[in-house]
C-alpha cells in the first residue's frame, strides 16, 4: 500500500484523531462514573449514619449504651447487610464496632480509628486488604451530653466491580469501534477519491495524438468536478497551441513553395546557359544544390505536418512486408555496393500487414539509406522481417559507427543530428527518422533503436499483422 497516497493519509489521520477522542471519552466516562457511584454510596451511608445518630444515639442515655447497641444491631444488622458501623466517643474510645460481614469483604477491626477531633467530613475511603471501604461519619450528642461519632461504611467492591466491567467494555469496545470507523472511513475516502483515480488514468492515456479527448467530468458539484473541468480547459488550450504550431509548420512549408519554385526556375534556366564562366556555373550549381535541399526540407516538413494532422493515407492495402523489404533492399543494393557495404536480406515468407504501401516502403528506404550512410566501407547491413506473435518485426541492423547513448532518445526528433557535421555533409535534411516515426505511428507500429557506438545500430519496427493473417499459424 502506498503510504503517501492521499487516501492512506486521510484514513490514518482520521483513525488517529478518532482513537484519541474515544480514549478521552472512555477516561472521562470512567472517572465520572466512579465519582458518581462512590458519591452515591457515600450518600447512602451518610443518611444511615444520620439515622443512627438521630434516633438511637440521641436516646442512648435512656436505656444505657448497652440497649442502644442491641437496638443498632437489631435494626441495622450490619453483618447481614455487609455494613460497617462503629460508634465512638469523641475521645476515641470505641463504643461499638459491627462484626465481620457475612461475605467477609472486610474486617471491621482493621478499620483505623478516627483520630480524635477529626472534623465530621462528607466521608472518606479506607483501603483494606479485602477491598476499599467507604465510610461516612456523623457526630451526635446524647441527652446526657455525651458526644458520639457514628461511622457507617459499605464495601466499595460492587462499585469497583461495576467499574471494572465498564473498563473491560471500554477496552474491548473501543478498538472495535475504532476499527469499524476506520473501515468505514476508508471506504468513504476511497469512494470520494475514486474519480481522482479515473481522472489520473484518463489523463495518462491522453497523448499528443489524442488531445481531442477529454477527462470524465462527474456532475457532482464538488471540488473534483471543478478540477476535471479546469484540467479539460487546460487540455483544450494545449490542443489549440499544438494545433497552432502544427498549422504553422504546414502553412510555412506551403508558403515557402512558391518562392522556391521561382528560385529554382530562374537558377535552372541560368545554369543551362552554355556561355557562362566556369566559376559562375559552379556558384550557380552550388546555390541550386542548396535550393534543392531547402526544397527537400520543406517537403519533409510538409509531409510530417500532414502525417501529424492524421490525414487519411492514400491507400490501405494488405501486402507482404517481407516481399516489400526484399524488393527495396534489392533496389538499393547498388547504393550500398557503391560504398562497399553489403546488404543481406533475410525474411520469412508471408508477413502480411495492412497499410499504405508507398509510405511503408519509404520507411524501409529511409532506414536502409541511414544504415548505408553511417556504415563505413567493408561494413555489413542486415535487413530482416519475421513474425513474432501478432506482430511483424522488421530489423535494420548495421555494424557502422553507431549512436552515442546520450543521443539515442533524440534520434527521432526533427532536425536532430548526432553531431553537427556528420549528417549535414551527407546531405540529409534531418527529417528522415522523424518521417519514419510518424509513418510508423500512423500504422500503429512502434519503432525502437538500439545502438552501441563503434559497433553499429539496430532499428526495429513492430507492426501488428493484418487482422486475419495473425490468426494463421506461422
Amino acid at each position: 500500500m502506498n503510504t503517501r497516497s492521499l487516501s492512506f493519509r486521510l484514513v490514518a489521520w482520521y483513525a488517529g484523531v478518532l482513537t484519541i477522542v474515544f480514549v478521552l471519552l472512555g477516561v472521562l466516562t470512567f472517572f465520572f462514573l466512579r465519582h458518581y457511584l462512590e458519591a452515591n454510596l457515600l450518600d447512602t451511608q451518610a443518611r444511615r449514619a444520620r439515622q443512627i445518630a438521630d434516633t438511637l444515639v440521641a436516646h442512648a442515655s435512656r436505656g444505657g449504651e448497652g440497649a442502644m447497641l442491641t437496638q443498632v444491631e437489631n435494626l441495622y444488622s450490619p453483618e447481614a447487610n455487609d455494613r460497617f458501623i462503629r460508634i465512638t466517643h469523641t475521645d476515641g474510645t470505641v463504643v461499638y464496632t459491627s462484626g465481620a460481614p457475612l461475605d467477609g469483604r472486610f474486617n471491621p477491626q482493621q478499620v483505623p480509628a478516627r483520630a480524635a477531633g477529626d472534623d465530621v467530613g462528607p466521608g472518606h475511603k479506607v483501603r483494606l486488604p479485602g477491598g476499599s471501604l467507604l465510610i461516612a461519619a456523623r457526630g451526635a450528642t446524647g441527652t446526657d451530653g455525651t458526644r458520639y461519632l457514628v461511622e457507617v461504611g459499605a464495601s466499595g467492591a460492587s462499585t469497583e466491580a461495576t467499574l471494572t466491567r465498564v473498563l473491560v467494555m471500554l477496552a474491548v469496545g473501543l478498538p472495535i469501534a475504532v476499527c469499524v470507523a476506520v473501515a468505514g472511513g476508508f471506504v468513504l475516502v476511497r469512494r470520494a477519491l475514486e474519480p481522482v483515480e479515473r481522472i489520473a488514468r484518463k489523463a495518462e492515456e491522453i497523448t499528443q495524438h489524442s488531445l481531442s479527448e477529454r477527462l470524465p467530468v462527474v456532475r457532482s458539484g464538488d471540488e473534483l468536478e471543478r478540477l476535471s473541468v479546469s484540467l479539460n480547459h487546460m487540455i483544450s488550450r494545449l490542443e489549440e497551441a499544438i494545433h497552432g504550431s502544427k498549422q504553422f509548420v504546414a502553412d510555412a512549408s506551403h508558403e515557402l513553395r512558391t518562392p522556391l519554385t521561382v528560385m529554382r526556375g530562374e537558377l535552372e534556366s541560368l545554369a543551362q546557359d552554355g556561355q557562362l564562366k566556369r566559376e559562375t556555373r559552379e556558384a550557380l550549381g552550388s546555390v541550386l544544390e542548396e535550393v534543392e535541399r531547402l526544397g527537400d526540407i520543406v517537403e519533409g516538413l510538409f509531409a510530417l505536418s500532414r502525417l501529424d494532422a492524421g490525414e487519411a493515407p492514400a491507400e490501405w492495402v494488405r501486402f507482404d512486408l517481407a516481399e516489400l523489404a526484399a524488393t527495396t533492399a534489392d533496389q538499393m543494393s547498388l547504393l550500398a555496393e557503391d560504398k562497399q557495404v553489403s546488404v543481406a536480406c533475410e525474411s520469412s515468407r508471408d508477413v502480411t500487414v495492412a497499410g499504405d504501401r508507398a509510405r511503408l516502403k519509404q520507411v524501409v528506404v529511409n532506414l536502409l539509406d541511414n544504415a548505408i550512410k553511417y556504415t563505413p566501407s567493408g561494413g555489413h547491413i542486415a535487413l530482416s522481417v519475421r513474425r513474432e506473435g501478432a506482430y511483424a518485426v522488421l530489423d535494420v541492423t548495421d555494424n557502422g559507427i553507431g549512436i552515442p547513448a546520450e543521443a539515442l532518445p533524440h534520434v527521432f526528433k526533427r532536425f536532430f543530428r548526432v553531431d553537427g557535421s556528420r549528417s549535414r555533409e551527407q546531405g540529409g535534411a534531418g527529417l528522415g527518422l522523424s518521417i519514419v516515426k510518424s509513418i510508423c505511428s500512423a500504422h500503429g507500429a512502434v519503432i525502437e533503436v538500439m545502438s552501441a557506438p563503434g559497433r553499429g545500430s539496430t532499428f526495429r519496427i513492430k507492426q501488428p499483422l493484418a487482422r486475419d493473417a495473425a490468426a494463421r499459424p506461422s
Partner: protein
Amino acid sequence: MRMLLVEDEKKVSELVARALRAERYAVDVAGDGQSGWELAEAYDYDLIILDLMLPALSGAELLRRIRRKNQQVPILILTARDATEEKVRNFEAGADDYLTKPFAFAELIMRVKALLRRGPVTRSSVLRVADLEVDRFTQQVRRAGRKIELTPKEYALLEYLAANPGRVFSRTMIIEHVWDQSFEGLTNIVDVYVRHLRTKVDDPFPVKLIRTVRGVGYGLVESAEG
C-alpha cells in the same frame, strides 16, 4: 499552339511563360481567376495551365466552369497543395494533370508536351541520340553498333534521358520517373546509377553523351559536338 496560363504569382507566371515561349508556344497570361475565366471564354486554347490558389475566382471553381464550357481542352493544375484527396477531387472535376510546387521547369514542359501529344501519336520504337540507339521494344541498347548490356534500372534511366535529348532532368524528376515516390529525397541513388551508366555507355567511347549540370541534374547531349 496557344495556351492560357492562370497564375497569380507574377514571378512564377513570368518564368512559366518564358519557358513555354522558349518552346515556341503562344502563351496568354491571366493574373486572377476572373480574368482567366474571361480569356478562357473568349478563346479556344489548346491547353490551360491553372494555379489553384487564385484571387477573385478560385482555381477549383474556374476548373469547373471551363469544363462545363469545353470538355476537350487539356488542363494542367499547378499548386502548392498536394493533399491526396484534393488531387483526387480535382481530377474528378476535370483536371488532366497535376504539378506540385516547387517543380522543375523541365518537368512542366514535359507534362505540357505529353498533354498536347495525347491522342494518336506514332512513336518510333527506337530512340536515337548521336550514335546511341535505344530500342524501347526489345529494351536493347547499342552504341556505334556495339551492344551494351544494362541492368533494368540502368536501362529505364537511359531510356528516360534519351526520350528527351538535350533536356536536363533534375534528380528528383529522375527519381519520380525511374524509381517511385518512396525514394523521394534519396537523390544520391541517381548519382550512383548515372556513374554506372557512364562506365558502360560513355567510357569506352571518345565522345561523352551523358552530361551533368551541377545543381540541376543530368541529360543526354543532343548532338555529339561536345
